[in-house]
Amino acid sequence: MQTQSMHFKARAGQKLADARLQKNLRKLSEKFVTARAAAITELDDFEGTRSAAVERRNRALERLDLWLETFERNATARGAVVLYAQTPEEATGLIVEIAKKHGVRKVTKSKSMVSEEVQLNAALSAAGVQPVETDLGEYILQINDNEAPSHIIAPVIHKDKEEISALFAKTHGTERKSEITQLTREAREVLRGHFLSADMGVTGANFLIAETGTVALVTNEGNEGMCTIMPPKVHVVLTGIEKVLPTLEDVATIMRLLPRSATGQPISNYFSLLTGPRRADEPDGPEHMYYVLVDAGRTGLLGSEFQEMLRCIRCGACMNHCPVYQKIGGHAYGWVYPGPMGSVLTPSYVGIENALDLPHAATLCGQCSVVCPVKIPLPDLLRKLREKQWERGLRPWYEHVAIGGWAFVAKRPALYALGSRIAVRMLNWMGGSDRLIRQLPIGAGWTRSRDFPAPSGRTFRDMYRERRADGARSV
């Protein structure tokens, strides 16, 4: 996906002005937030489980090379082929090659954010292979002229039922439906034909399990099963190299947190563990199974101050709870991953200079790290990205001037006392009779949407000194 992150401000402005989107975002973020809050109380020791999950993810990442080799060995022993791609282009190249090798004309896809990252659909289409999204949300986006997802687990969260109903009627040539059950039935009828006629299924991976050479898939629609064990001859798992976990025990711990953090469910409707292609004694499954494991920037985070970001299990809780995401939705962020996790990943993967707004477009309220099931210190990582921008001279000149000038004064108490004395008098005068400043000369961003309550006109230090001199108080 082409990054549009440099247009963050303009895109965010459009989203704020979109009344329909505002309504849709309000409804759904409230639903996820409430559901998660209830779901985590079901665990006896949520905090303890979080700590355990952190340890297990850290153990995997600290020796990622070892666990990837272990995974490769065990997956290969079960008949799968494990391939590595350093870049998005290599990943799509490998998948197109696999499709050609097996004479594939149609691919069914289960939800995969990595496939968005590498722009798999475009590459398949260009090679004459038809990709069909089978996750309901992703399907809706695909038939809407390949619109980008706006959330990592609820890709179509920005749309409401009426928009989807109109889209279905237009695309399928059917009557407009008013009930969600009617709409899902219609999608199921359309998709069934694709499941039966596809030659290859592509899925992502929630986890790769090293000790067994297994892929773990979490869905609520069961489409991952249709993509992998119905007719397709070939199953391709496309995912990032960081998704590996050493053992099944690790998966058990993390699965206690993933659905609860994501949707507030104790467990997802479907949870599949798939190990290798169909064996002679098995009734179903693909004839061939491939893994395409993508780096695309991930090894750059290993061993860096951003390594903790690789713990991410893609639950979406950080964006559900983010006050900024809740107001602008995912599209404003301009790449595959939105919200706090995306504001760390996007600059890391597409280049810090290509996403200058993202680390700054956060209030650093800290709620994302409170709800993160694997305790990623997202505000700290965003701040570190700000440091990198500053060090590399990527911030606008006026920020350097403003911070530099202010710091020069703040380091010199006598000058500071004088400067603030003058400034508060001016601001007090600007406040007029109702004590409100409607337009600030510096800081117009503030007064566009709110007044600035005027200072009372004298600094604490001046008043305090006076009081002490009056002998009203002795220290």
Binding site: C365, Q389, A407, V424, G445, R448, S449, R450, F452, P453
Partner: protein
């Protein structure tokens, strides 16, 4: 008990009365309060802008000015969080300064936390009465663990009726320079906070951070609400509101 007061640059310049209410609360609880004269700012604006060299220089200044005191009290969770947590991170590659920052971290307290957990005050110099709602500012809540302390103190004032608003722990959208750089997004976030404040039916919003006060009050006034009062917790507890 000898206590140093970190006034904060925002209180110093914009709402000095919060500094005096804080002083009154500490003195009426029997503290000897010292206000180190050279204090300016904790350095958070530089830190959050990515200018860690400047943030470090200001952090060193704060260390020099405040490390001689057994207790440092601050009427802000945000500046408190900066000093208590972020200084240690800032000095991660400077072992000497880091250990000094750790000592200061153990001595700095947000005002309501200090009144509740260190001084264990029973009586307050206040007869404030009114229907209020309380906003939990982000850094106070999530970095300094301030949640029950202001409520416990408010409960000591018989004339106070507290109605919790919806999403009282949700960010108000201030975020320091965020509110200027992304004023429109910030405005949309604070708008929701204002809706929740109004829906609570309270006559006054009480909270512990001046940045959030200016943000919420500024939006309330801009949208035509001239009567909902926005007060710092110290003003209510000291009877100065």
């Amino acid at each position: 008990m000898r206590v140093a007061l970190f006034v904060t640059c925002l209180v110093d310049a914009v709402r000095p009365e919060i500094g005096f209410s804080t002083l009154k609360l500490l003195e009426s609880a029997g503290c000897e309060v010292v206000v180190p004269e050279g204090q300016t700012c904790c350095g958070q604006p530089a830190y959050n802008s990515g200018d860690s060299a400047t943030a470090r220089a200001l952090a060193e200044k704060v260390l020099r000015e405040f490390e001689g005191f057994e207790y440092v009290v601050i009427p802000s969770g945000s500046c408190g969080g900066q000093i208590k947590h972020q200084y240690i991170e800032l000095f991660r590659d400077h072992p000497d300064l880091k250990s000094r920052a750790e000592v200061l971290a153990s001595r700095i307290f947000e005002l309501t936390d200090f009144l509740t957990n260190v001084l264990r005050v029973e009586t307050l110099p206040s007869t404030f009465a009114g229907h209020i709602t309380y906003h939990d500012s982000c850094s106070g809540l999530r970095e300094m663990g301030v949640k029950s302390q202001p409520r416990a103190l408010l409960a000591k004032l018989p004339g106070v009726r507290l109605t919790e608003m919806k999403d009282c722990e949700q960010c108000c959208g201030f975020g320091g320079t965020f509110s200027v750089k992304y004023g429109d997004i910030s405005g949309a976030i604070v708008d929701e906070k204002c809706r929740n404040v109004r829906a609570s039916g309270a006559d006054a919003l009480v909270l512990g951070d001046l940045g959030c006060i200016l943000n919420i009050e500024g939006r309330l006034r801009r949208t035509g609400d001239s009567k909902t009062r926005v007060l710092h917790i110290s003003q209510v507890l000291a009877g100065d509101a």
